[in-house]
């Protein structure tokens, strides 16, 4: 069964409300009508009974039955009167008169000393009026029964009128409800159409946003891998620079030790040169002495020949010593020059090693800073990936909500009677964007 349209529902609801109100009003009207008719009947009955009792009481006191009968006959034509009974104080029926046939026990034969007692019994209203004489003695009771048919007739006549009026009101109410439902459903239908269009646009935007998010996530993932490679390289560079730093520091220490050794060697060479100078001087003096000795031996002639030979031999020894010393001096000079070159080279080596140490330290520091910066960039990439993943989830949720909203808008349009077939909106498929992006960030 197809669901009812909103307009029909509204019309039906308004009609039901109006019908309920009309029924309640009609019921209340009829009840009030019956009550008023009953009150009017009681008023007429008590009035007629009172007048009749006032007319009958003197005749009963005189025991004039004929007069009583005439008085009763005077009210016989009353439409509602069914019977009149005059009871004596002893309860004996003094005179009676009825209209039509009454059922058994339908008449009431009760005496009453109270004034005007009204009782409803069966389908009649019974009015009991006591009869008093001139001496205010109790003569008896006039009992008159009135039919309630007039009330039923009045109610019956009112029911038709009420029913006709209710139908008229119901028709008017349905017309008003149709008009109101039409005015209410039209803007709702327009809103539903607009809502459906906006929902479709929202879904399209969510799809585009998801596509951009996927590309962004891919870029972030690639950047993160690149940063990991850079971090690995930075760590390798840091280790290498630390090794270079250690080697450079050891080289500096070694070069300083070499420089100290060379300095000591130069000092020793200076001392050796001084000693060589002393040896040279001694040898020179020896040569001089030997020469003079040879000269004196020569002057001595044949006697000094041996002396001359010894002196010549001494001189050759001295010259040999001086030649050796000269050779040693040349070697010392060469060694001093070489040591000077070595000292200079050592100083340059120390300077270069210190420069290398500073460079290696700077490289290590720069690499450490680069590694920290790379780690921060990687952390930022992870945070960004997590943000993108969260944004993608929210986008999917938005797309799903938009699809549901579009579906609701279409259903609303259908309910308000747009007459269009709903266009289904596809919800974006759930798929993982970044494989363990957040997890990798935590594991870093």
């Amino acid at each position: 069964m197809s669901p009812l349209a909103l307009r029909a529902k509204l019309i039906l609801a308004f009609a039901l409300v109006i019908a309920f109100v009309t029924i309640c009003f009609a019921g209340y009207f009829l009840i009030q009508q019956e009550r008023m008719a009953s009150a009017a009947l009681v008023t007429r009955a008590t009035g007629i009974s009172g007048v009749l009792a006032h007319l009958v009481a003197p005749a009963v006191e005189r025991d004039d039955r004929l007069e009583v009968s005439k008085s009763l006959a005077a009210v016989r034509d009353h439409a509602d009167l069914r019977y009149v009974v005059v009871l004596k104080a002893t309860g004996e029926v003094y005179q009676r008169q009825s209209v039509g046939t009454l059922g058994p026990g339908e008449e009431l034969h009760d005496n009453s000393r109270e004034e005007r007692v009204v009782q409803a019994r069966g389908g009649l209203i019974h009015v009991l009026v006591p009869l008093f004489g001139k001496d205010n003695n109790h003569l008896g009771t006039l009992v008159a029964g009135f039919s309630r048919q007039s009330i039923a007739d009045a109610i019956r006549a009112s029911q038709a009128a009420v029913l006709g009026g209710a139908c008229v009101i119901l028709l008017i109410g349905v017309g008003v409800a149709w008009f109101l439902a039409l005015n209410i459903a039209r803007p709702i239908r327009a809103v539903a159409k607009r809502l459906a269009r906006l929902s479709r646009d929202l879904v399209d935007s969510a799809r585009s946003q998801e596509s951009a998010g996927v590309q962004q996530a891919s870029g972030i993932e690639q950047t993160r891998r690149t940063m990991e490679a850079v971090l690995s390289s930075a760590q390798q560079i840091a280790e290498d620079s630390s090794a270079v730093l250690g080697n450079a520091e050891r080289t500096v220490t070694g070069n300083r030790g070499v420089a100290l050794r060379i300095k000591d060697l130069n000092s020793h060479a200076e001392k050796a040169t001084e000693i060589l100078a002393a040896i040279m001087q001694v040898a020179d003096r020896t040569d001089l002495l030997a020469l003079n000795a040879a000269l004196e031996g020569t002057k001595a002639g044949e006697a000094g020949r041996g002396f001359t030979l010894v002196a010549a031999e001494m001189r050759r020894l001295a010259e040999s010593v001086m030649e050796s010393v000269a050779g040693i001096r040349r070697l010392m000079n060469d060694m001093r020059a070489a040591s000077q070159v070595a000292v200079q080279a050592g100083q340059e080596g120390v300077a270069l090693s210190e420069e290398t140490t500073r460079s290696a330290r700077d490289i290590a520091l720069e690499t450490q800073q680069q590694r920290r910066a790379t780690e921060q960039v990687g952390q930022s990439m992870d945070d960004m990936a997590a943000t993108v993943t969260d944004a993608m989830a929210r986008t999917r949720q938005t797309a799903a909500n938009a699809a549901e909203l579009a579906e609701a808008a279409l259903q609303l349009g259908t309910l308000v009677g747009s007459g269009r077939s709903p266009q289904p909106v596809q919800v974006i498929e759930q798929k993982p964007l970044l494989a363990g992006a957040a997890g990798d960030g935590n594991n870093r």
Binding site: D284, L288, N292, L295, K299, T308
Partner: protein, 168 residues
């Protein structure tokens, strides 16, 4: 300066025998000279020389040797250019060779002293004289492959002292 006996340069013999006389070989610059050993008084280390203002160019000055002042004579200045010496050829310090002729002593500045040679080669030397050569350079001979010029100490001292006497 001590008085020196005058010696005539022209009175030197034309061919003086050199064998049998011990000679002291000295080097001045790039040339070798031979001095008769008996004419050499002593050999000393070259020490501080005090210049004499009016002295000739070849007299470098005077120096103190054994308590007396001896003129120091540059044989190189007297002869002229003797040629450059080989680098680092001398193993000893410069010497002063004190020679005596008569009563006159002079100290010759030499770069190296080879020693005293007793036996000379049998081949007689060649007259070393020539145009512009001083007379105290008597003759030259080869000794162990080295060209040596024999000096006449008397003429040498006379040449130095004569100038000195003229200077006085």
């Amino acid at each position: 300066m001590r008085a020196a006996r005058a010696v005539e340069p022209d009175s030197a013999p034309e061919q003086a025998p050199v064998s049998g006389v011990p000679l002291m070989l000295v080097r001045v610059g790039g040339r070798w000279f031979a001095l008769p050993a008996h004419m050499v008084q002593r050999v000393a280390v070259k020490r501080a020389v005090t210049r004499v203002p009016t002295a000739a160019r070849h007299v470098l000055g005077v120096t103190s040797l054994r308590g007396g002042l001896v003129p120091v004579v540059s044989l190189e200045q007297m002869i002229g250019v003797v040629g450059p010496a080989a680098a680092d050829s001398a193993t000893t310090l410069p010497r002063l060779v004190v020679v005596r002729a008569g009563e006159c002593e002079i100290a010759l500045v030499v770069d190296e002293i080879r020693g005293i040679i007793e036996e000379l080669p049998a081949v007689p030397g060649v007259k070393a004289g020539g145009a512009g050569r001083p007379g105290f350079m008597r003759e030259e001979f080869d000794w162990q492959g080295t060209r040596v010029c024999l000096l006449d100490v008397a003429l040498l001292v006379a040449a130095a002292a004569g100038w000195s006497q003229e200077g006085d």
